[in-house]
């Protein structure tokens, strides 16, 4: 593997996490970003599931790209995606049942994620297997990072805990904000974080802007 190639792989990951962050920049796949982020643990496993699906779908599509007739490519991609989602769904049910109880429905709905289909269509169907894998890792990680951000924000403010650990807020005598774990808080959290990202991007000179 040449150095040049490694760099481009690294850049693929960076692109997914920062430049085209699924949630904060592209504003896609928002449903789980709000729904499963009341606790860091749920958000973390949801993010992992998405990374897995995105990477596997990219790999499969890229490996099969020569055999898929362009006219029927979308149904085939959907089939591949839902196949992998079924795998993740059954795996999560077996391995982390307590998390699955909270996020099960949203795991199944990864099928309808625009971002996964979009990457399969825009990247994996045109590129070789290795770059596709790194693109999948990048996009998935971007989603994971965003979920971790939102859920940390909400869990810290709403319960005063991080990763369901001991409450640090109680120790300094602050009361947790119940609103942040309510549904409404999810909208506020994502809205505020998006505004923060926008502000950072405009301040530190990346020219693209969300929404």
């Amino acid at each position: 593997m040449s150095a040049e190639n490694e760099l481009s792989n690294w850049e693929l990951i960076k692109n997914g996490v920062l430049k085209e962050n699924t949630i904060f920049k592209l504003a896609l796949s928002l449903c789980p970003a709000i729904a499963v982020t009341t606790k860091l643990k749920d958000g973390f496993f949801m993010g992992l599931a998405v990374v897995f699906v995105q990477v596997m779908v990219n790999l499969t599509v890229s490996a099969m790209r020569k055999f898929i007739h362009p006219r029927i490519r979308l149904p085939i991609f959907m089939l591949i995606i839902s196949g992998w989602v079924t795998v993740v769904n059954l795996l999560m049910d077996a391995l982390v049942p307590d998390v699955y109880k909270n996020v099960g429905l949203y795991i199944q709905l990864i099928v309808a994620f625009a971002s996964i289909l979009a990457r399969a269509e825009m990247f994996a169907s045109k590129n070789k297997i290795v770059p596709s894998m790194f693109d999948g890792i990048g996009m998935g990680l971007g989603f994971l990072v965003a979920l971790i951000f939102v859920s940390m924000f909400r869990e810290a403010l709403g319960n005063g805990t991080i990763f369901a650990g001991t409450s640090f807020a109680m120790s300094i005598g602050a009361k947790p904000l119940l609103i942040m774990v309510l549904p409404a808080g999810g909208f506020f959290a994502v809205g505020l974080l998006m505004a923060l990202f926008n502000w950072l991007y405009t301040r530190y000179g990346t020219k693209s802007h969300a929404g």
């Binding site: 449903c31 709000i34 149904p75 959907m78 429905l105 909208f187 923060l196 926008n198």
Partner: protein, 197 residues
Amino acid sequence: MGSELTKLFELVISSSLVNNFVFTWFLGLCIFFGVSKKMETAIGMSVTFTAVILISSAMSWLVYNYLMIPLGIEFLMIIVFIGIVAGLVQGSDTIMRKVSPGLYHKLGIYLALISTNCIILAVPLMNVGNHYNFIESMAFALGSGLGFSLAMIIMASIREKIELSDVPGPFKGLPMAFIIAGMIALAFTGFSGLITL
């Protein structure tokens, strides 16, 4: 019979108001934020969506109970349901274009967007999860459709006003929409406890 009807009515109310898909389940957000900029598009989307969700959940219910259970392939339900939705959307797109071009011209674009709406997949999945019978799942689908339409219309009417006001720089566009949605969600928490099923 009376209690049956009451139960159906409760299902409709609960899925449209108490457990509104947008504000308590956070589903269909991509569409919710994407097409709620103008009242006209919001109404077009709501009508198309309610119609599609009724048909697709009826079809999924029939396929699940009369095909998948006898064959013992329940674990394939994600694949089958997404197939039904995609096929239905594609099919009604073609039929509408041939049969009533006027309607197609008005609502066709929303039809294509609907397949990316997660509610349309979530409702059949939840029908299965909650073991609803046919009539109950239709009531559930109707409630979800109405609830989504209500959310869209409220959101569109607020966003049309927001266009004219001075929003701080970083909040322009989506972040502001999120904050508004949060406030509507706060109002909707007032419905919780109205009906317990």
